[in-house]
Symmetry: C2
Subunit: 385 residues, 2 copies
C-alpha cells in the first residue's frame, strides 16, 4: 500500500509533466567562428506544447552558463526537481505551453548531451576533452538555426533567454533578423565588463590550477578537477546573488552557534557555498565550464558592427528588455545600454526594470511583476500570430 | 662616473628617507581571545618623526590585510618602492612627520617579522606554521597597547587605519578609550557582510585546496601553495578595485590585439591579475593570509556589546569617518552605519565621503580632497596638543 502510494507522485497540474530529451544529429560540417570545423554534431533538446499548423507558434529558449535543455517538467516519476525554468514554462504559465510550442536545446560545448568536450570525437573515437574547439554565441545561434530548419520552423514567434541566453537572443536578431518576431533579452549585457572578465579568469585559473586538471585530459587520468570546478562555482554563485539576499538568507549566522577559531565551516554562508560547489561538480564538466566562460568573454557585437546600435539596425523583431534592480553581475545599467542602442537604431522596444532582491538569479525566479510582463507580452504576441 | 651617479639615487625631498624596522620583544605571555597563549612575542615596527617631550604627538598607524609596518620611506638607497602609504606620511604630508611621531607595527600573525606562522615557536624550535593561533582585532590592539607602554606613550594623539586597519581604530576606542584622542576610521565597516565573508571563504578554499598546502605544513614539504595564494590574491584584487577603474584601465583590450580562442592570457586584465597574484606570493605567507581573513570575519563589536552604538558609548576620542564613493567592498553605506552608531552614542564625529574612482583601494591613493581632510584635521589636532 505504502509502495503503491509512493510509486507515482502526482506532478503539479500546471506542469508540462513527464518529458524526454530528443537528439538531432547533423551530418553536415559546421565551420566555427574560430576557424575550426565540427564534422557533424548532435543537439539534444526538449519540446513542450504543440506546434500549430502554420508553424507560427514556436518559441526558442536559450540557456545560460550552467543551464541546459531541461527547462520544464520531469524526466521520471521519481524525479524530484523539475527543469530549471519550470516556474515560467508550462500550461497556463507565462510561457504558456497551451499556446506555444517551446523548444530548448542544449548548446554545443555544453555537457548535457549535445556535442561537446564530454562527447565522442568521431575523428579519434575518444571524447573531445580539451580538444573541443571554443565556440561562440554566433556558433550556437547558427546551430540553433539548423535545428529550426530540421523542425520546419521558418520564424520564431519569440526567442527568449536570460544572462548568456539573452546574448543569444541578441545574436539571433543580428544574424537571422527575418527569423525572429520577438526578442526577449533578460538580465543580459551587451558585452562583459572588465570586472566580469576578471571573475571569469579567476574561475578558469581555479580549474586549470587544480592538480587533477592535467591540461584538460583528466579523463585519461581517471580523475576530475573537482576542487577547481567547485571553487569556480562558489565564486560564480557569489556574483549571482545580491549582497542583500545573502545577508537575509545567512547574515553572520554561525553553524554551531559560536566562533571556533579554525578553518572548518563556521558561518552558514560557508556551508551553503561549499554545498553549492559540491553539487555542481556532480553535474558539470570542467572543460565545458572553461569554454562557456570564454563564450561570455568573447561576446561583443559592438566591436563587430562598429557600435551596438549598428548591430541592431537590421533587426525586424520587437524587443523586450528586462533587468532586475538587485543584479550586480549584469546590472540594470547594462540593460539600459542595450535599450539605448535599440532606440538609437529606431527599433521597437519595451523595457522593464523589475524590483527584486535575488541579484542576477532573479531571472530564474517567479517574481510576480516579472512573470506578468512576460505573460502579457506573450499573450499579445499570440493574439497576433 | 656612471656608477658614481647611480650609486645613491636621491630620495624625494618630502620622504622620510631611509628607515629601518625595529623589533620589540615581549617576554610576558599574551592570552588571546581564542584562549590560546603566546609565551612571549615580537612586534616589528617602524617610526618616523620625533616624539615630543610630553609624548603627546604620537600617531599609531594600523595596517590592513596585506600591509605591514613599512608605511613610509625606503629601506635602502637602491630601494625603488617606498612604504605603502608614503604618499600620505612624511615631512609636510597630511600625516606630517615634522609634527608627529608616527609608529607603525606589523600585526601579530602577519608575515613581515612580527610573531606569526613564519616565525619560530619557542616551544618547538620550529616555525609555528598552521599551529599559530588565530588572533583577533582585539588581540592586535592589546599587543599594540603593550608596545605603547614600552615606548612610554600613554595616549595616542591619533590612531589611524584604513579597511581592516579602521577596525583596529574602532577597537582601540572600545578597549582603551582613555588612550586615544582621535580616531580615524577609513574605508572600514562595522563588520563583514555575508558577501565579504563569502569571498574570504572562496579565497581560503583556494589556498587550502592547493595540492602544495599540506594542511598548512608546506614548509616541511619544501613547497609553497603558490597557486592557491595567487588565486586568493587575484580574487581579492577584483574586490579592491571598482568596476569603473578596471574598465578605464583595461577595458576589453586584448594583449595581442586579437581573440586567440584559447586559455592563455588574451585580455589585458587577465595579464594584470596574474601579475598581481604572482608578485603577492613572493611576499606573503599562505597561513598568514588564512589567519588574516578570519580576523576580518570575526570582527563584530555589535555582537559583543549588544549594538554598535553601545560599543562606542564609552569612547572619549573624536572620530573621523571617511569613505569612498566607488568602494564596493566596504561601501559608503557601511561607513554610514558607523557614523549612525557614533551619533546614537552621542560621540563627536566628522564624516567625509570622498568622490573617487579607485574602489576600496582609494584609501591608499593621494586623492586631493581625501588628503586635505586628513591634513586639516591633523593640523587642528596638533595645535591643541
Amino acid at each position: 500500500m505504502k509502495e503503491a502510494l509512493s510509486a507515482k507522485p502526482a506532478q503539479p497540474a500546471n506542469s508540462v509533466g513527464l518529458v524526454s530529451p530528443k537528439t538531432q544529429h547533423f551530418n553536415e560540417a559546421l565551420t566555427l567562428e574560430s576557424g575550426s570545423t565540427l564534422n557533424g554534431f548532435d543537439l539534444v533538446y526538449e519540446t513542450y506544447g504543440q506546434l500549430n499548423a502554420d508553424k507560427s507558434n514556436a518559441i526558442l529558449i536559450c540557456h545560460a552558463l550552467s543551464g541546459d535543455h531541461h527547462v520544464a517538467g520531469y524526466h521520471s516519476d521519481s524525479d524530484r526537481k523539475p527543469g530549471w525554468w519550470d516556474s515560467c514554462v508550462g500550461p497556463g504559465k507565462p510561457i504558456d505551453t497551451d499556446k506555444y510550442f517551446v523548444i530548448a536545446p542544449n548548446n554545443l560545448g555544453g555537457c548535457s548531451g549535445s556535442t561537446g568536450p564530454t562527447t565522442m570525437n568521431p575523428d579519434t573515437g575518444q571524447p573531445y576533452g580539451p580538444e573541443f574547439p571554443i565556440v561562440t554565441v554566433g556558433d550556437w545561434v547558427k546551430s540553433q538555426a539548423m535545428l529550426a530548419d530540421v523542425l520546419g520552423i521558418e520564424r520564431w514567434a519569440a526567442v527568449i533567454g536570460g544572462s548568456l541566453g539573452g546574448m543569444q537572443v541578441m545574436q539571433w536578431s543580428f544574424d537571422y533578423p527575418d527569423r525572429i518576431r520577438n526578442a526577449f533579452v533578460i538580465a543580459a549585457a551587451p558585452k562583459l565588463s572588465t570586472q566580469n572578465i576578471a571573475f571569469n579568469e579567476v574561475a578558469r585559473q581555479a580549474i586549470m590550477n587544480d592538480q587533477d586538471f592535467h591540461g584538460g585530459h583528466y579523463n585519461e587520468h581517471n580523475v576530475v578537477p573537482n576542487r577547481g570546478l567547485m571553487l569556480a562555482r562558489m565564486l560564480g554563485h557569489i556574483t549571482y546573488l545580491s549582497d542583500d539576499v545573502l545577508d537575509e538568507k545567512f547574515g553572520r549566522e554561525l553553524r554551531d552557534g559560536r566562533i571556533k577559531f579554525g578553518y572548518d565551516v563556521e558561518f552558514q554562508v560557508e556551508s551553503y557555498l561549499r554545498y553549492q560547489g559540491r553539487s555542481f561538480v556532480d553535474r558539470f564538466d570542467a572543460n565545458s565550464y572553461l569554454l562557456l566562460t570564454k563564450c561570455l568573454d568573447y561576446f561583443d557585437p559592438a566591436s563587430r558592427f562598429g557600435s551596438l546600435a549598428s548591430a541592431f539596425r537590421g533587426a525586424t523583431a520587437k524587443f523586450y528588455v528586462i533587468s532586475f534592480s538587485s543584479d550586480w553581475r549584469f546590472s540594470p545599467a547594462r540593460s539600459r545600454e542595450i535599450l539605448r542602442a535599440l532606440l538609437d537604431a529606431d527599433q521597437d522596444v519595451t523595457y522593464a526594470e523589475i524590483e527584486s532582491k535575488q541579484g542576477h538569479d532573479s531571472f530564474l525566479m517567479p517574481i510576480p511583476r516579472y512573470h506578468e510582463v512576460l505573460r502579457t507580452a506573450l499573450n499579445r504576441i499570440h493574439r497576433k500570430l
